[in-house]
Amino acid sequence: MHNKILVVDDDAVSRAVISAVLTQNDFTVTPVSDGVQALAELNITEPPRIIILDIEMPVMNGYETCRKIRTRFDAEKYYIIMLSGKTDKKEVVFGLTQGADDYVIKPFDSEELLARVKTGRRIIKMQIEMAEKLRIEEERLKEAAYAQRNLNSIDLPVHALVRTAAAYLPSTQLGGDFFHVHERNGKIFFYIGDCEGHGISAAMDSVLVKSVCDRHSAHLINNMPAQFLSAVSSDIILYWRFEKYCTLFAGIIDTDTMKLTYANANAPLPVLFGTKSSVLPSVRGVHIGFDTELEFEEKTIPLADNCRMFVFSDALPEIKGTERMSVLTSPCFSGLFSQPRGCASDEISGLLAYIRDLNTGLPLADDLTLLLFDFTRPVDLQFAVRDENGLTGVLDQIEKTVSGYGTYTEETKKFRVACREMIVNGLTHGNKSDTGKKVTVQFHADNIHAEAVITDDGDGFDPNSVPSPDDPVRLAALLEKDDQSAYTHGRGIFMTRMVMHEVQYSRKGNSVKIVINFSPARTVLEVKST
């Protein structure tokens, strides 16, 4: 493959002599007479990688041809030797600045030309081998990144009092982040860490630490994060032999007492956002892997209603905005948490967008893990609606409230639409548009589900008596024969049944309960580096 040479010269005699010299030395020569033909010859499956290029040519001269080759996607895989009778040093330098690798002056000496061609062949061979090694290395990195991403918690726990969201953003290099979130018997335990270094080594270290953490998770279940860190450190020393280390933060959220117990091995401390924002009180601890039998301090703090805890890996404090201000000290950052809550996926997307923006769109220097815990008490509200004029305000309030508990915006929208259909049914069919009567909405939401019981003051009805709008006989009569008698009500009920997990009518039929169960949150995994 590397014995193929493209000879570009408009002078047939020179072309023939150069070709003869090269052919005599076991090179395969493709001779062409101008730059346009030369570029065409490079668009084949295995093009010549060494190009001998004359400068003075009609159609497209050697300089332009050289520049065009250097704009190709595989530009570095060509070795270009410019061949010219121009002997002036400036001409030689100019030729090299146009992208040539070497310059031979005509009339050439065949031995010199061959020596330079062989140098080119050696360099191209090395470059192609290096590119292949790089490709293999990138494949390995991808595989390691895949293994690492899937090692971490993908499905996040569902709990009525705690909403969890998470994201993982890879950096330009493979990093050493790992984390875990789990719920058991009303307790949510989690840990987040970062192994030193980058590349496959750091990723594999994170896999190792994660498996050691899993081995000692009983300490977390037993509400002993300090013992957990000690046990992990003692074990990991056997593998790392004091040569590596990692940060690790472990916490247990007790939802019965709404308290957080935690210990820390030099990871960034999480931030609590409530009536005011504050970093968790520091606890004594050093990096995992520094020594055997390490002791860690443990603290327990209360979690206020409706506060939020933001946990993150080491990369976040290092991100500086255009004003060289750390993300964490930026007023805009705490501002993000003072706004009314949106759906979990929107919240985490907003955080990611903010971080990307602050990092001015550049790739992250280190991989980044974000965990967001919202401690929200269930909410119960009641509304009374007498006509459609008051409906929008009620639906707005329901939607806004559901957003603070739900996972995805689509679910919030579905719940709003279902509420609207059922309230309108109550006003129109139940109360027969009598504004002296009311439709009552009893609304409940927590982090698992939202429900509304909608009751009108009417006489009720038998929902089973309403023909189904997807009855094929009726649909055919309506669509094909335009038989208006086949038109049926009940499309609102039909649609509500499609989008809600539960639609339950009372015995009398004047009250309906609709329920939507929120999808469990999943970790947002960015595939490409940001």
């Binding site: 408009d10 002078d11 047939a12 005699v13 020179s14 023939a16 002599v17 150069i18 003869a20 010299v21 052919t23 005599q24 030395n25 003075e56 009778g85 002997t87 002056i105 005509k106 009339p107 050439f108 000496d109 065949s110």
Partner: protein, 119 residues
């Protein structure tokens, strides 16, 4: 010899061309056939430039010089080189003598090429 210098005055430096192609006389003959076809066109292009298109004189001379030196036609190459190095003149008659010498030189080369064919 430096490339910028004129070459040793030989009508045809056969040894040089043979060395270039590792002594393959068959290839030398093939190259002479190509030269016999191409060089007259280059001389014609130079003649035309000297008569009608002065802007092309240097290019045409440069091309003839390159082809000639590559073949070992040193005297022909030297003549073309002299034209290439000359300051461009609006008096086109200054080229007449060179063109005559170039044509005569080519006639001598052609004799050698033809004798090669007979071998």
């Amino acid at each position: 010899m430096k490339p910028s210098e004129a070459k040793e005055a030989k009508i045809f430096d056969r040894a040089y061309l043979e060395t270039q192609v590792s002594g393959n006389t068959g290839i030398v003959r093939e190259l002479l056939v190509i030269a016999a076809s191409e060089i007259p066109q280059q001389i014609a292009a130079l003649t035309h430039a000297c008569a009608h298109n002065p802007a092309e004189i240097k290019n045409a001379a440069h091309k003839l010089k390159g082809a000639s030196y590559n073949m070992g036609f040193n005297i022909l190459g030297n003549l073309a080189r002299e034209i290439e190095l000359m300051t461009l003149s609006t008096d086109l008659s200054v080229y007449t003598d060179y063109l005559t010498r170039i044509r005569n030189e080519w006639t001598e080369i052609l004799k050698i090429i033809n004798s090669e064919k007979k071998v």
